[in-house]
C-alpha cells in the first residue's frame, strides 16, 4: 500500500519534470545555440549539445554594443520604477483603506487605464510629446509613458498588500498621537514591505523588457534600450544566430535568476493582486 503510493508520487514527479522540460525547451535552446559555433548551428540534424562550446559573450557584448543598450534599459527601468513607487504606494494604501463611492470610481478608472495597449496608445503619445517638446528627451519620454502604462498594475498589487495590514495597528498608532502620515510610514509601509518590493520588482523587470515606446520615441541608437538593440540585429535574413542568442542569453539570464530566487514571493504577490 505504502509502496504503491510512493510509486505514484514518483510517476507524478517524473511526468511533471517532463512537462517542465518541454516547456523550458526554448530557454534551453537559446543557451545551447549561444554556445555553438557557426557551422554547428547550421548542422542538420541539429545537435542538442554543443560539440565545441564557443563562448562568444565578450565578443558579442562588444560587437553589438550591449553595454550601451543595457545601460539604457537600466536607466529606463529605474526611472519607471522610481516614479511608480513614489506615486503608486500611497494610492494603493488609500484605495485599500477607504471605502466610498468616490474611491470606487477612482479604482475603476485606474483599472480601465491598465488595459490600454501600448501599441495603440503610442500614436497620440508620440504626437503630443513631439508637440510639447518632450521628444528632445527621448528616454524621459519613454519613462513617463511606460510609468503610466504600469502604474495601475502596481497600485492593484500594493492595494492587495495594504489590505492585509491589520487596521488596528494603525488605529492604535493614531491614538498614541501619531499623524496619519507618520502612521503610514512607521506602520503600514514596513508591514507591507514585502508586497511593495515584489510589486516594484515586477515593474522593474517589465520595464527592462519594454519595447514599443522605446522603438517609437527614441531615434538615436545611443539612447535605445536592449530590446530595440536586439530587434535591430534580427532582420529577416539573420544568419548570425549565435550572436542573437548570445545577446538574448546575456540579457535574460539576470532576469531568470532573479525570478528563480524570488519565485515564491512573485507568484504569491501576483495571485493576490490579480484575484483579490
Amino acid at each position: 500500500m505504502l509502496r504503491d503510493e510512493r510509486l505514484t508520487q514518483f510517476a507524478l514527479l517524473f511526468v511533471a519534470l517532463a512537462m517542465v522540460a518541454t516547456y523550458m525547451f526554448p530557454v534551453y535552446w537559446m543557451y545551447v545555440t549561444a554556445l555553438k559555433t557557426g557551422t554547428e548551428i547550421t548542422a542538420w540534424p541539429p545537435s542538442f549539445w554543443p560539440a565545441n562550446p564557443d563562448f562568444a559573450a565578450v565578443e558579442v557584448w562588444q560587437r553589438m554594443r550591449m553595454g550601451t543598450y543595457l545601460k539604457n534599459s537600466a536607466i529606463i527601468a529605474v526611472g519607471v520604477t522610481a516614479i511608480v513607487v513614489v506615486l503608486g504606494t500611497g494610492c494603493g494604501y488609500a484605495l485599500a483603506r477607504v471605502r466610498s463611492r468616490w474611491m470606487d470610481v477612482a479604482l475603476f478608472s485606474i483599472l480601465m487605464m491598465q488595459v490600454l495597449p501600448s501599441s495603440l496608445m503610442i500614436t497620440p503619445i508620440f504626437v503630443s510629446f513631439s508637440q510639447i517638446g518632450l521628444l528632445d528627451y527621448p528616454r524621459t519620454s519613454v519613462i513617463l509613458a511606460q510609468a503610466a502604462k504600469v502604474l495601475p498594475f502596481y497600485v492593484v498589487l500594493t492595494r492587495a498588500t495594504f489590505a492585509q495590514v491589520p487596521r488596528e495597528l494603525e488605529e492604535s498608532a493614531l491614538v498614541e498621537g501619531n499623524s496619519r502620515i507618520g502612521a503610514f510610514f512607521s506602520i503600514n509601509v514596513p508591514l507591507a514591505r514585502n508586497g511593495i518590493l515584489v510589486a516594484a520588482l515586477l515593474i522593474f523587470l517589465q520595464s527592462l523588457g519594454e519595447y514599443v515606446y522605446s522603438r517609437s520615441l527614441i531615434q538615436s541608437r545611443a539612447l535605445q534600450p536592449a530590446t530595440v538593440g536586439l530587434q535591430s540585429f534580427m532582420g529577416p535574413n539573420t544568419s548570425d544566430w549565435q550572436g542573437v542568442m548570445t545577446y538574448a542569453a546575456i540579457y535574460v539570464t539576470p532576469i531568470i535568476l532573479f525570478f528563480v530566487f524570488l519565485q515564491r514571493q512573485i507568484v504569491s504577490g501576483l495571485t493576490s493582486g490579480a484575484l483579490k
Binding site: L87, P117, R167, L205, G209, L270
Partner: protein, 316 residues
C-alpha cells in the same frame, strides 16, 4: 510580460478611519491627495492621450502637420479609408483568429497543467512556479528565440516534425503567408500558458477537498467529478482568465515585431500592429489613430464586462 487586472473586492470593511475633516495631515484629505497624485499622472499620460487619439482620428495628420496644432478635420475619412482597404478584411480576420486560438489554447493547456500540478507530489509547487520563467522574459527575447526555433532551414521545430514523421517537407513558418500567423500564435500561447495556469491553480486550491471526497463516496468517477464539481465551481475563475486572456492577447505587440513584422503581405498582421505600422512606418497618423480607436473600444468593452462581472459576483 502580461499584467493582471484586479478583480474582486474581498477586502473587509471593518470601519473606515474616522476623519476629523478634510485636513491633509490627519483626515480624509490625505487619502484624497494620495489617490489624486496617481490619478493626475494617469490623466496626463493615459487619459489625455486617449482623448487626443480620438481627436486625431478625425483629423488629417501626416508628416507635415504633425507638429502643428491646427490640423484640418476630415470627419470620418480616416475610418472610411482604413475600412475600405483591401488588407482590412485579412487583418480583422487575423486579429480574430489570433485572439480566439491563443485564448483557447492558453486556457486548455493552462487548465490541464493546473489540474495536473494540483496533485500532491514532491516539488509540485516549485516546479509549477518554473513555468512563469517564460512569462517574465521580455517579449522581444521570446520572439527572437522562437524565430530561431521556427526558422525554415535550420529550425529545430522542422527537424522535430520531420524526425517524428509528421511532415516530410520543411515548413516555412515565418515566410509562408498562410502559416506566419500561426507562428506568432504558438509563441503567444507559450507566453500566456503560465499565467493561465497560476490563476486557475489558485481557483482549484480554493475548492474544499471534502466536496470531492463526498462525491467520490457517492461513486462519482474522475470525469464526472470534473464536470459536476470543478467546472461549475471554477466558473468565475474561468470567466476572469478568459477576459484577461483576451485583453492581453489584444495587447501583444512584441512578438509580431520580433517574428514576422505582420508579414508576409499582411499574412500575420493584426489590428494592434497595423495601427502602429500606419503611424510609424507609413506616417499615416490619422489612419493609425482611427485603427487604434476602434481597437481600444474593443479592449475597453471586454475590460468593462470583466470588471463589472467580478464586482457583481462579490456583491451577491
Amino acid at each position: 510580460m502580461t499584467v493582471p487586472l484586479s478583480t474582486t473586492d474581498s477586502i473587509p470593511t471593518v470601519g473606515t478611519i474616522r476623519a476629523s475633516g478634510p485636513s491633509f495631515r490627519d483626515g480624509r484629505g490625505l487619502d484624497r491627495v494620495l489617490v489624486w497624485l496617481t490619478l493626475g499622472f494617469l490623466v496626463a499620460f493615459s487619459a489625455l492621450p486617449l482623448v487626443y487619439n480620438v481627436v486625431m482620428s478625425f483629423q488629417s495628420v501626416d508628416l507635415f502637420t504633425i507638429a502643428s496644432f491646427d490640423r484640418p478635420f476630415v470627419g470620418l475619412d480616416n475610418y472610411k479609408t482604413v475600412l475600405s482597404q483591401r488588407a482590412t478584411g485579412t487583418i480583422v480576420r487575423n486579429t480574430a483568429v489570433f485572439v480566439g486560438l491563443s485564448v483557447a489554447l492558453q486556457l486548455t493547456i493552462g487548465f490541464g497543467l493546473a489540474l495536473y500540478f494540483q496533485q500532491r507530489f514532491p516539488g509540485s509547487t516549485w516546479l509549477r512556479g518554473l513555468f512563469l520563467a517564460g512569462w517574465i522574459m521580455p517579449g522581444l527575447v521570446v520572439g527572437g528565440v522562437w524565430s530561431w526555433i521556427l526558422a525554415g532551414d535550420f529550425g529545430v521545430m522542422n527537424w522535430a516534425l520531420q524526425a517524428t514523421g509528421i511532415t516530410s517537407d520543411k515548413i516555412f513558418w515565418l515566410s509562408d503567408p498562410s502559416i506566419a500567423l500561426y507562428s506568432v500564435i504558438i509563441a503567444n500561447v507559450w507566453v500566456g500558458v503560465p499565467f493561465n495556469m497560476i490563476l486557475l491553480s489558485v481557483g482549484l486550491a480554493a475548492i474544499p477537498d471534502d466536496v470531492y471526497e463526498a462525491a467520490e463516496m457517492d461513486g462519482a468517477g474522475r470525469i464526472w467529478r470534473f464536470l459536476t464539481i470543478t467546472l461549475p465551481l471554477m466558473r468565475a475563475q474561468l470567466g476572469a482568465v478568459i477576459s484577461l486572456g483576451i485583453i492581453f492577447t489584444l495587447q501583444q505587440f512584441d512578438l509580431f515585431a520580433a517574428l514576422t513584422q505582420g508579414g508576409p503581405s499582411n499574412g500575420s498582421n493584426v489590428m494592434q500592429y497595423w495601427s502602429w505600422e500606419l503611424s510609424f512606418q507609413h506616417y499615416r497618423i490619422g489612419q493609425g489613430s482611427a485603427v487604434s480607436v476602434l481597437m481600444i473600444l474593443v479592449v475597453i468593452c471586454v475590460a468593462a464586462i470583466y470588471v463589472r462581472s467580478t464586482r457583481h459576483e462579490h456583491a451577491a
